[in-house]
């Protein structure tokens, strides 16, 4: 006779086992975070740990994990890092670099000249180039470099294709990396090996990446922070809450709507880079009709009320811009171009008529990572509707957004808002590395302009500053006239920190540098 568990017993057992399972598993408990743990939070998540990828979501980990030969601080002064000495040749066609001999990779191997030769080799490796966007970007960065030789174990010689007076600007983007697994050029599958002040411990996607102090760092006594917890928050609006509640010590402000509130909080310091070189352009699919017609593109630009967008979509933290060379410090700056395309719906309408385009309909996307994009796109949508142009906006997740933007034909979209950097660097660097603003074979979205390509090549080889200025001003003029992308506003990088954190800086690239930071308990 089988024993039937009575219902009462059954219920008791079920209840007890359920309750038992609900108790959270005991974890290796640390009562309170070690005093040297700094919690820093940003929205979104890492798309790669290879700094060469240079994507906006990753940039603030670059200087923590990786070092460069030389770098420029936010005042433009050159500092030596992995290099002990930097000797440009008199004729400007090469540079000799002596490496410091006490620098090591995070796994203990010493950093030698051959490592840099290997890095140059990555940019020539077709399989790596095909797999990883960052390798392609660095190939473009190092285009003026003909050859890299290891003269001896700690001495490097870079030879150039002509004269390159701005080589230190190139080195500013040339972090020292090691690709140990050719199937993992993004450095995401295994622990990325760098040489910076912090070592990578592990990454829990959509949650955090944990870095700890590099005990063998060649700068003695630095860094002072033991653990750098780089948290990723999926909801950008919770960044401010986390900072104000003390759950994190610092955040990268992703929604300009929050700045006002942060500035008003006395326990918080708001800091931004003095040379914000990033801008928000709307990239146009110039191969797709009717955007292949210049008048249509110009019309769209006239229909953009940048002044209002700067106030309402960017909450006053950005300035409206009509060109990428908006800063008077740039070699390509020209006052009339900086004021191009004032808001004029009538003119926009007339241009559309001239182009013979009626009932135009365009498709674009936005993503939560940049709430400013959604706001200015919707303001634009409303204005475009007034002249009979329909703009369809869809909101997508970050990964899809990046994939569409990185695709040559925007995956069928007509346009996409984007972020482009380095506009305040030497224009040779800007044009050399930003394929968004080129008109040749490597142009990102297929815009062709032979004159621009000629000017870019000339400017890279020219050493006379006055001549360079006229070259880049003409390049500026071409882009403004042809409008292959519509510039909206600049993108200041803004951080908010608890007053307990001191010593954090940014470099000229605009990336966070925590090597000198201290945390008060």
């Amino acid at each position: 006779m089988r024993h039937r568990v009575s219902r009462r017993e059954f219920m008791k057992i079920a209840a007890l086992s359920t309750a038992a399972l609900a108790v959270p598993p005991a974890r290796r408990t640390v009562a309170a975070p070690a005093v040297g743990t700094l919690n820093y939070a940003e929205a979104g998540d890492f798309s790669a740990f290879n700094p060469w990828r240079f994507e906006a979501v990753n940039t603030n980990m670059h200087n923590q994990l990786f070092d460069r030969l030389t770098w420029k601080d936010d005042r433009g002064r050159v500092h030596l890092q992995l290099a002990e000495a930097y000797e440009p040749a008199r004729d400007g066609t090469s540079a000799r670099i002596k490496l410091r001999q006490d620098a090591k990779w995070h796994d203990g191997k010493p950093i030698v000249a051959q490592d840099f030769v290997n890095m140059h080799g990555y940019t020539k490796d077709t399989s790596l180039l095909a797999k990883e966007l960052g390798i392609r970007k660095t190939r473009d960065l190092l285009a003026p470099v003909k050859d890299v030789q290891a003269v001896d174990q700690y001495t490097l010689v870079f030879t150039f294709n002509g004269q390159v007076p701005y080589f230190t600007e190139i080195l500013d983007y040339f972090w020292a990396i090691r690709i140990d697994d050719p199937n993992d050029p993004a450095l995401m599958r295994k622990v990325p090996v760098g040489s910076g002040p912090f070592k990578f411990i592990h990454w829990v996607p959509n949650q955090y990446a944990r870095f700890v102090r590099n005990p063998d760092y060649y700068v003695k006594g630095k860094p002072t922070i033991d653990t750098f917890m780089f948290r990723r928050l999926d909801r950008p609006e919770t960044l401010v809450a986390n900072l104000q509640s003390g759950a994190v010590h610092g955040i990268f402000v992703s929604n300009p709507a929050d700045v006002q509130q942060l500035r008003a909080d006395r326990n918080i310091t708001v800091a931004s880079t003095p040379h914000p070189g990033s801008v928000f352009p709307v990239m146009l699919n110039v191969r797709k009709s009717p955007l292949d017609r210049k008048q249509v593109r110009q019309a769209l630009s006239y229909a953009m009320n940048r002044v209002e967008m700067a106030q309402k979509a960017f909450f006053g933290v950005s300035q409206p811009i009509s060109t990428m060379f908006f800063s008077p410090t740039s070699l390509g700056y020209r006052e009339d171009l900086a004021k191009a395309y004032p808001f004029d719906l009538d003119r926009a309408g007339r241009l559309m008529e001239e182009a013979g385009v009626r009932n135009a309909e365009f498709n674009t996307i936005v993503t939560p990572r940049w709430p400013q994009m959604k706001l200015f796109t919707l303001i634009w949508q409303a204005d475009l509707a007034k002249i009979g142009i329909k703009l369809n906006v869809a909101e997508v997740e970050q990964a899809q957004f990046l994939a569409s933007g990185n695709d040559a034909s925007l995956r069928g979209l007509d346009m996409i808002p984007w972020v482009v950097g380095r506009t305040t660097r030497d224009p040779a660097i800007f044009f050399g590395t930003q394929i968004t603003h080129r008109g040749g074979r490597t142009a990102k979205h297929g815009w062709v302009n032979d004159e621009l390509e000629k000017l870019v090549a000339e400017g890279a080889a020219e050493i006379n500053t006055a001549k360079r200025r006229s070259i880049y001003q003409r390049a500026n003029e071409i882009i403004v006239e042809e409008v292959p992308m519509i510039h909206v506003a600049n993108d200041p990088r803004i951080w908010a920190w608890s007053t307990k954190v001191k010593g954090m800086t940014t470099d000229l690239v605009g990336d966070l540098t925590m090597v000198d930071a201290t945390l008060q308990s």
């Binding site: 079920a14 359920t18 609900a22 070690a34 996607p205 928050l233 759950a247 997740e397 899809q400």
Partner: protein
Amino acid sequence: MIRHVLLRILHLIPTLFLASMVIFFIIVKAPGDPAQITAGPEATPEQLAAERARLGLDKPLPVRYAVWLSDVVHLNLGYSLLARRQVTQMIGEAIPQTLRLTLASMVLSILIGFPIGILAAVRQNSRLDAVVTGLSSVGLALPSFWLGILLIITFSVRFRWLPPSGVGDPDQGSWYNLRYLVMPVVTIAASNLAVFARFVRSAMIDALAADYVRTARAKGLGQRAVVVRHALKNAMIPVVTILGIQFGRLLGGAVVTEAVFAYSGIGRLSVLSILNRDYPVVQGTLMLVVCLFLIVNLTVDLTYGYLDPRVKLEEAR
């Protein structure tokens, strides 16, 4: 008995197969060339072809399906397209989080819903009953994303007592991290509680009204004895059913709540991977969810049949 169980399990297998086919075809139907994604946009046509061969994309569909299915059975779920990590690893990290959430909600629903339901049934049509019924109507209707937002407004924005999102700080102990569970658990439990309380109440009412209870009352047994002994036992049957069904639904219910609180469980992993077109992760999580769902539903059915032999005979399937 064993035969019955085995038969039911066998019955599951074709469904599982069909569901796996649907899941497999998501990748096939989806736009975008997986080889292009892994080889990169600058791959030459030869490199693309090589990548396609490497991924097995050039084989006919049934073969690809068979290969995929055998991989799944061997728990080789591939690599995420975005995170480049093993899918099994990502799922392994997400499941415990969702389990904590689901079980805690379940416990809360039972602890509160059960006594409330019984009380309301015992005092049927009283003011307490009206309140309970009214509140449960609200609880059922409350969209979880709205309740979540309201909780965040109250406890994170206004009072700053609780963190508005996330699963917690790995440096802190389990007790500290409980504060990240509070609002998500309450959000999920709210609707579960409503269903559960209602169910317990109606099951109790039925049981109390049953003939033999009336007979027992007529015989003069005290109210409490009547309730405890007879009605409660019979009320258990539908209650156990609803418990099981709710557990299965919790998997789905957690999806939106995990999105609201950016809580890194399996719900959020599947939603994000679906939205990001990260197909290997989508397939892995959907297979897991479907298996769990089917197993839970089967267990519920079997338990129901075990507890109430009348139902087994009546099954018209």
